[in-house]
């Protein structure tokens, strides 16, 4: 583009041909398929998809792949090393650690994805409408989001946990309350720029109502960054769940979650001498979050190649 002659690779030529055919309307291109193809050519993203799917499927089909009930105690067989009988050994109450991790994934993933989705729903619902409409409501929401985001998030979460109490549902509500700001701001910014597009003005000239314009016609054009945001915040919320469990303020301890399983490592005896109690959990959390991050990064690159970091 900038004058210097560059060697044109075969791939680029191929792309050009595809583009040409698309321009002439020869091939019917499904929406987003280009982004998808780009995603699949990103090796890390593919690795991420594989990691996340494996863990996700394991959690979903937990009863099929676990030999043991994750709640079944066997006090006389506590702290067994990994073996054929117990793949990852048993914990301090003789529960099968493999089963606990697999079942715990259900809760942890629920917290992560649930919180990411609910905060996206809240953030997008507010951001799309106020971003399009502007005015007083927009101003109020903007200030509110500034306030929410001004808090270091962990401090706000801690405050809310003490106010609302521990619990699975409360945790999701708290994560939503503290996490909607980012996605709201992003959606709003998207809407602000889309608002100037002429098709939006055309719709207004037809007298369409604001909800239809904002949610039906404009929102689909902002969906790429929103999906990236949801992915990355899933990873973030899973880490938050683990951190809160570490502080003893997460999901109540009697529910198995990855955070609660790894939390045992605070006890130095288990940290030092019973590695199988916490290492597998730590690996699974890290792997899952890593996988989700890979996917999110891949999505970001394929949705918007200009944006980096």
């Amino acid at each position: 583009m900038n004058g210097t002659k560059k060697k044109i690779t075969r791939l680029e030529k191929k792309f050009d041909r595809i583009l040409m055919r698309e321009d002439t309307g020869l091939i019917k291109k499904k929406k987003g398929s280009r982004a998808f193809r780009k995603l699949m050519s990103n090796r890390l993203a593919v690795a991420g998809i594989i990691i996340v799917s494996v863990i996700l499927l394991a959690a979903v089909f937990a009863p099929l792949i676990c030999r043991y009930d994750p709640l079944k105690l066997d006090l006389r067989n506590k702290l067994q090393k990994p073996s054929i009988v117990h793949l990852l050994g048993t914990d301090q109450l003789g529960r099968d650690i493999f089963a606990r991790i697999v079942y715990g994934g259900r809760v942890s993933i629920l917290v992560g994805m649930g919180s990411a989705l609910t905060s996206a729903v809240v953030g997008v619902a507010i951001g799309a409408y106020t971003g399009y409409k502007g005015g007083l409501l927009d101003n109020i929401m903007l200030r509110l989001s500034e306030i929410v985001m001004a808090f270091p998030q962990i401090i706000l979460v801690l405050l809310l946990v003490t106010i609302m109490g521990q619990g699975l549902r409360n945790l999701i509500i708290i994560f939503t309350l503290t996490g909607w700001g980012g996605i709201y701001r992003m959606t709003r910014a998207q809407m602000l720029s889309l608002r100037e597009e002429e098709y939006v003005q055309a719709l207004r000239a037809f007298g369409l109502n604001s909800f239809a314009i904002a949610y039906k016609h404009m929102l689909p054009n902002a969906v790429g960054p929103i999906v990236v945001n949801i992915t990355l915040s899933t990873a973030m919320f899973i880490l938050y769940e683990a951190a809160l469990s570490f502080l003893g303020l997460g999901v109540p301890l009697n529910i198995s979650t990855w955070g609660n399983i790894v939390n045992i490592a605070q006890d130095l005896r288990y940290l030092q001498f019973f590695w199988w109690l916490w290492v597998p959990g730590a690996i699974v959390i890290s792997l899952f979050v890593l996988g989700v991050n890979f996917i999110g990064d891949g999505l970001r690159d394929s949705a918007d190649p200009m944006q980096q970091g």
Partner: protein, 337 residues
């Protein structure tokens, strides 16, 4: 021709000012006077061109008429044969009714169609809003519309990026036509297109107009386009109309130095008509603090003392048997030059 024409739109002292917020408490420090007291009549069936340099407020005026930008003053009276209604004072519901009759075609073929929807998807919602409930019927209407803009019916299921700029612009026109309006504001409707495609689209617009008995308000900065399509021309400068006349009359008997300068800038092949080119010096002054007196005086090559002090009003003259309005203190002197 000038007698007994029916007005479709009457603008009275229309003002559209944008506040400028300043200082610690965001008090309003001044206004951008994008449209500053425009009075105008648009006749049914004509094409009225609004011309001027960019930033003169012509697009704002166009959007003000459709209430896409709320005017801050004046009246815009729409006559739909039965009633006369001031658009600025209509409720949202009433405005929706009027929207059936007033439409707009935009400048940018890139952004005038929603990339996330097929043509059908983009065009069907307005139809739905305006009472066409059955999908089959909507498909038929949209297909017909596409054909009427010289496109194929099947193309309604394609996405915008699968069209060329000219095609998109034609879809934009089809969209404006979809609910059978009386008046269409064409906001720089062809400026972004290649010249060859411009011609196609202009011809299309002209044909459709004849077919459907439409009225156009044609906003453009391109005087050659004006000559081709319009019946009357209003020249805008800094939010005001400085000259208004039948198109041939305007070219023949220019009564404002600004119009003269604009006209002289058109590249014309015909050497006979070639006049001395008048250069417009300097930029358009800021619409926040327009110059005192005649707003054009700092750039006018015939500026006199009175021009710096007294704002000239838009006075009616008669040239070649037509009404001709000009806002120049020396309008008649212009004729003799």
């Amino acid at each position: 021709m000038s007698e007994a024409r029916e007005t479709i739109l009457t603008l009275k002292d229309v003002e559209t000012h944008f506040p400028i917020k300043k200082g610690v408490f965001k008090r309003t420090a001044g206004h951008v006077k994008a449209v500053d007291g425009i009075s105008l009549e648009v006749y049914r069936g004509e094409t009225l061109a609004l011309v001027g340099e960019s930033g003169c407020g012509k697009t704002t005026l166009g959007k003000s008429i459709l209430q896409l930008v709320k005017p801050t003053g004046g009246k815009i009276i729409y006559n739909d044969k039965a009633t006369e209604r001031d658009l600025c004072r209509l409720s949202q519901k009433e405005m929706m009714e009027v929207n059936r009759k007033l439409q707009i075609v935009f400048q940018d073929p890139q952004s005038s169609l929603n990339p996330a929807f097929t043509v059908f998807g983009s065009l069907q919602d307005p139809l739905k809003t305006h009472g066409i409930k059955s999908k089959a019927e909507r498909r038929k209407i949209i297909g017909d519309l596409l054909e009427s803009v010289n496109m194929r019916r099947e193309q309604m299921d394609l996405y915008p990026h699968e069209f060329s700029g000219g095609q998109r612009q034609r879809i934009g026109i089809a969209r404006a036509l979809s609910i059978e309006p009386d008046l269409i504001v064409c906001d720089e409707a062809v400026s972004a297109l290649d010249v060859s495609i411009q011609a196609q689209v202009l011809k299309l617009l002209k044909d459709i107009k004849k077919e459907r008995n439409l009225t156009y308000i044609f906003i453009t900065h391109d005087l050659s386009v004006v000559e081709y399509i319009s019946d009357r021309v209003a020249v805008m400068y800094l939010g005001k109309i400085v000259e208004l006349a039948e198109v041939e009359d305007l070219y023949a008997s220019t009564m404002h130095p600004y119009t003269k300068a604009l006209l002289s800038a058109i590249p014309v092949a015909d050497l006979d008509r070639r006049k001395k080119r008048i250069l417009l010096e300097g930029d358009v002054p800021s619409p926040v603090n327009p110059p005192s007196g005649c707003p054009f005086h700092p750039r006018c090559n015939q500026c006199q003392d009175i021009c710096k002090k007294v704002i000239p009003s838009l006075k009616k003259f008669e040239t070649n048997g037509y009404e001709h309005y000009s806002a120049c203190h020396f309008a008649e002197e212009q004729l003799s030059q």
